[in-house]
């Protein structure tokens, strides 16, 4: 019995390893071809590169305006996530602590709105914000992320705040702190686990988002990383080596963060799904 189990586990381990190798294989292909010249790729795309030539990277880096695109992505993601967590936690707090009819209605309304697909909104969104001149700006995009991200964040904070005992806050109120002070001194620190979960989900979403920035940001200097890879790839489709280097440049930062925080990220995703 014991021996059978060990053999079975061995088989499982072996089968999973093969499956994982196949799973990761596409990234490996991109990596090896990112060092090659076009001719070398066409003659055998499966072979390891003969020399570690970084010229594709240097080309892609400059032509994509990498630093600029990276900073744009960073600014947009950081500000959006900061504002979503801050504003949504405050909103959820007032929804839980003030049981007004209006609050209950608003909460229900926000949760129900999560069913609306982005495609149902994008065309009028472009029209409205285009007509008031708010297109082509990172700040308008950040504002939109706050609007789109609020529902889920309020919903998740709402569930958590309900479980925080009121006594903690009452003590602070007696000591004379205002509601805003009570929230930031007592409640917000307690929300850290949910804040982490929301931040992880929203970072994955906003950092990688394509369609919304594609619609809002027109000028090349405004492009985020996915956008600049998209336009670069469109221009250099036939030049596979450079295109692969561009893909690697966009993937590397995420992989570095993943290697450092994989447990938190996977935990965030699994917590975010249990509603």
């Amino acid at each position: 019995m014991e021996k059978n189990n060990r053999i079975l586990n061995g088989i499982k381990f072996f089968a999973l390893s093969i499956f994982l190798v196949l799973y990761i294989f596409p990234f490996f292909i991109v990596l090896i071809n990112s060092f090659k010249e076009r001719k070398e790729i066409l003659s055998n795309p499966l072979k390891l590169p003969s020399v570690l030539n970084l010229s594709n990277y240097i080309d892609a880096f400059t032509k994509m305006n990498y630093i600029h695109a990276f900073l744009n992505s960073l600014i947009i993601t950081a500000f959006s996530v900061f504002l979503i967590t801050l504003l949504s936690s405050m909103t959820a707090y007032i929804f839980v602590r003030k049981k007004w009819k209006f609050n209950q209605f608003m909460f229900f309304f926000m949760v129900a709105s999560m069913i609306i697909p982005f495609q149902g909104i994008m065309i009028p969104l472009v029209k409205i914000y285009g007509s008031i001149g708010m297109m082509n700006s990172k700040w308008a995009l950040i504002y939109m992320y706050v609007g789109f991200g609020a529902s889920l964040a309020v919903f998740m904070y709402h569930g958590f705040i309900k479980s925080i005992p009121l006594e903690l806050e009452e003590a602070a109120t007696i000591d004379g702190s205002s509601q805003l002070q009570t929230f930031f001194k007592i409640v917000f620190p307690l929300l850290k686990p949910v804040t982490t979960t929301i931040a992880i989900l929203d970072i994955l979403w906003i950092w990688n988002d394509f369609l919304l920035p594609y619609l809002v940001l027109m000028a090349p200097e405004q492009r985020t990383l996915p956008l600049s890879v998209f336009y670069f790839y469109g221009t250099y489709t036939v030049d596979y080596g450079r295109a692969m280097a561009a893909l690697m440049l966009a993937i590397i930062p995420i992989i570095i963060v993943y290697l450092l925080m994989q447990n938190q990220i996977i935990e965030g995703v699994s917590k975010g799904a249990i509603k």
Binding site: N9, L46, L87, I94, I121, F210
Partner: protein, 294 residues
């Protein structure tokens, strides 16, 4: 809590705490959505400042459009296969990876990797795989199925989309199933073993019924993402060859922004909203019923 007696004080608190969120939520989600419904009844062309009321003609035009129906049916087919394949494979992986295997955390992290990267990048990676790697492999080792370019064949291009989507989302759903599986009480499983249940019976009679909530969430997410897929469609096939793989989101985008038929495009988008809302609400309703019965 502070004693707020006056309406004014209440309003002030409310505006500080909820004002910015509610304002952004209304101006970004609700206003465009309602305005979008209004636009479907007008002849707005995207440029002119004025537009006239035209009744249901945009919807009629959308429903008369053969390409729209082809795209919609293709999307249904795509959603059907991706939802089933993703959830079956993800559950299977989660089941194996919670059985106490050596290095299971490493495996989990590995299978999750595609979810860290945006759809456009994943689409480009696979475009390269299909165009260069598989064709090279097929030709050098004489594997007929790979020796021509999948993305230039309408039928194979569809399956390419399915494969890449399954590859992308399986790891995500696996994480959700793992969370469900580790929450199953150990003593229930032990009790079943003592009663003589083999591992298949335990799976069927104990684990699967308790996993219904995880299935509810995971099927909901895969349904929603399936109907809304855009990035991978754009980067991998861009609807080609000859519009044969243009899924509904890409079709709506192209109707509005490429062919400049904004009102018709918006009518199609509202139709998509009704389909997604109906399908997902029915799915959640029936899975919740299944949960109660157990």
């Amino acid at each position: 809590m502070n004693q707020e007696k006056t309406l004014l004080a209440k309003l002030k608190t409310y505006l500080i705490f909820a004002g910015p969120t509610i304002f952004a939520f209304f101006t970004v989600m609700i206003l465009p959505f309602l305005y979008g419904i209004y636009l479907t009844f007008t002849d707005w062309d995207g440029i002119s400042a004025t537009h006239a009321f035209v009744g249901f003609s945009n919807y009629l035009q959308a429903f008369k459009d053969k390409v729209f129906w082809t795209s919609f049916l293709l999307t249904l087919k795509y959603v059907f296969f991706t939802v089933i394949l993703i959830n079956v494979i993800a559950f299977f992986l989660a089941y194996v990876l919670t059985s106490g295997l050596k290095g299971q955390n490493f495996f989990r992290a590995g299978f999750f990797t595609p979810n860290l990267i945006g759809g456009v990048l994943l689409g480009f990676i696979w475009q390269f795989i299909f165009s260069e790697i598989l064709v090279y492999f097929g030709k050098s080792y004489n594997v007929p199925i790979f020796s021509n370019f999948w993305l230039s064949d309408p039928d194979k291009a569809f399956w390419a989309l399915v494969i890449v989507t399954v590859w992308q989302y399986t790891g995500y759903m696996m994480v959700i199933y793992i969370a469900g599986l580790v929450n199953i009480p150990r003593d229930l499983l032990e009790a079943a073993s003592i009663d003589g249940a083999n591992s298949y019976q335990r799976l069927k009679n104990v684990i699967l019924p308790l996993m219904v909530p995880s299935f509810t969430i995971s099927v909901f997410l895969t349904l929603q993402r399936g109907f809304m897929v855009y990035d991978i469609n754009l980067a991998l096939t861009n609807g080609g060859p000859y519009k044969s793989t243009e899924l509904i989101s890409l079709h709506i985008y192209n109707t509005a922004f490429l062919h400049q038929q904004y009102s018709t495009g918006q009518a199609k988008a509202i139709f998509l909203f009704f389909v997604v809302a109906t399908v997902t609400l029915l799915q959640v309703y029936f899975s919740k019923k299944l949960e109660v019965e157990n």
